[in-house]
Symmetry: C4
């Protein structure tokens, strides 16, 4: 068994993934208020242990790589480095900055992506649907903006403290057209409600169109990959 096979063997993958998940969980728990000093200490030492294992893993991957410089600047090489670098860099900086840099540790989650197979069909579907998705994206932004301007003229006069500017209206437009509807801001005038009525009927398309695009692209990708197998 060579070194590459060792890194991709089941026990190693499970161990690394577990460490990543533990690291993410401990990061979350540390944000809880009123933690005891013992708990914080435990997480401090656990952090040192995790970073040590990841550092050894990084060096081993670097040693095992055929083209070493290529690995260092590859996507996973950079992600692996970013997962451990904040820890070493934090020594000279104050604790607050450390906390902000620590967010990069989450990039470790991206490593999970390495272990997957059917992503190719996703990528093919995205390639097929790329142009449609970009047009859709621009059309959505335009629609959101026009909706914001529309509601501004209907609601600004009646609710000046809620619909203060186009930017507040944009917040309303996003939370409405995505059908989240927090309820912190909603129209009360008859005109504003009729406007929202029309926009929402159209807005159903906002959800329907990307689904249709992705669905038809996935169908096409599935068909092509199945045809490939048949040959």
């Amino acid at each position: 068994m060579d070194s590459q096979q060792f890194l991709e063997s089941k026990p190693v993958v499970i161990a690394i993934t577990s460490l990543i998940l533990f690291s993410v969980l401990s990061f979350s728990i540390e944000t809880l208020p009123d933690l005891s000093k013992d708990t914080l200490n435990f997480f401090h030492y656990a952090e040192i242990a995790v970073v040590s294992v990841f550092s050894l893993e990084y060096l081993f991957r670097l040693y095992a790589a055929e083209k070493r410089w290529w690995f260092v600047f590859s996507f996973y090489g950079i992600v692996d480095l970013l997962a451990i670098l904040p820890f070493y860099m934090s020594t000279g900086l104050d604790l607050r900055t450390l906390r902000l840099l620590r967010i990069l540790r989450l990039a470790r989650l991206l490593k999970l992506v390495r272990y997957g197979a059917a992503i190719k069909r996703f990528v093919l579907a995205l390639t097929i649907a790329k142009e449609e998705l970009i047009i859709y994206f621009i059309a959505t932004l335009v629609m959101l903006y026009l909706t914001s301007v529309g509601i501004y003229y209907f609601e600004h006069a009646v609710q000046p403290e809620k619909y203060r500017s186009i930017f507040d209206c944009l917040w309303w437009a996003v939370s409405t057209l995505t059908t989240v509807g927090y309820g912190d801001i909603y129209p009360i005038t008859t005109g504003g409600r009729l406007f929202t009525f029309g926009i929402l009927i159209l807005g159903l398309g906002l959800i329907a169109v990307p689904t249709g695009i992705i669905s038809s692209a996935l169908s096409e990708a599935l068909r092509r990959s199945t045809d490939h197998i048949d040959d």
Copy 2:
């Protein structure tokens, strides 16, 4: 008519299904506050009657089965047993525990699944889409987590009592990205709103992708089963 045919005849299926539905409904009504003693008594005797019928049915199914041990440990054998066991087991325990065990009675609902045909196409579609669905599931969890961390840095300082920790942020992320939007927790800072804006535009994909996966898989399953008929 042999015993298996008898169990799958229309009147028997309807009678059993009705009893299951009655049992579920009575379970629901018993949770209503301020029920009269007479009502509770009625449900108590109804419960005895239902369990008696189900017990007889279980014994008959056991007697009718070709391989008896196989039936006992089959999916439906276990479900059938779980539907009556809590009643007999509750005698020696206190009433509170009985109430908690009674939840298993709902497993009877699963028996309804026995009577269906086009489930095969669903299963075929799920088999086709399995890998995509798993990748999507993991990607969703990662996205939810990253969203939680993001909103934590934007909103924690301003709304410390609502966005207390990553776990509260996760609750917000779930209720926002699934577009439920209860309105109990929402961003108020400009940064947090812009972040939510971006996340929601992406989040439309959260709904679009599984729909696309299931839709294309069902199309493929339909095509395959139709081709099968043509041959």
Copy 3:
């Protein structure tokens, strides 16, 4: 031009449709509080005029029909009759009952359905997807019920006035799984939130599955009707 052609000519269709829409609109306006006596009078006479036209239309349709008894008991025959009958029946009854019967007038909207063509493809798609939709419908009801029972055990103890019984929990389950999320009732315990988290991730499927079913069935219906044209 025979009588059937006359009834399906453009001016007649537009006139009848306009009268239906006017009738529906006037019904809506009459629910507004604080209407003046003049307005109510106007709508009273308008009502008499509309019913007169519809009565004449009904008699003409009856006269023009090839098989008269068949028309009377056909779908549109009954709808046409129901659109005028409440007016004549109301004379002997009190006004409150009249108001409740008037709701049948809305059945006139169904007449609009008569004028459409591509409904056939919808019907074909529904025929293809019928079994899947029924299974999905039952599965949804079961899932909603199990979700209600689950949240009852998590939230009843903490919020007894909101999650009073399984029925209140069912209301929560419906408004949550359909992603409406009014915000009148939501979980506050950690267990209840984790439960909701899991249910919502599954619940995305609640929206994805029918879309997938309808989408694949419509594709199939479109394919079949196109093949039909090619032959």
Copy 4:
């Protein structure tokens, strides 16, 4: 390089698009309350600069067009003119009217549409699905109206200040069936909740159907355009 090529060259397209976006952004910022006089002055002069460039562009496009009158009355010709006309027209009118006319400036966003390619497939898909979408649109309006009438009879008596008339009920029906659910208005009676329950189960179809239509039409459009390439 002729004049048409010049107008469609990358630097020109980017410059014009940037000016449009700047113009839209400045329009938004001007709606912010409490802006300093300097800021307003800056936007005033920026507005003059933007309109000057757009005016020159319009004249150049007019000069470059093969058929000049055709350009003036073409879609883009009118949009281009509407983007600059409000500025020149505002001199004689009061400032309030100017502000309302300025909304037409947003039509510049439509110019962005000029630069796109895969829109053809969208248009083909819309052509395929046109009839289905119209039927769906009418069916949705009918369903929304019937839902409004239904909830009126359930909730009007209990919440007369929220469900005042059919029009208020229509607002509720729209915000509920599109699953926005602001939470400003929701049923509290058992009947109203059961009614909403049934409507929402059906209402999932409200989202599922257009997605299915668009999805199957896009699949068909993709298939046709691919077949075209194969030939």
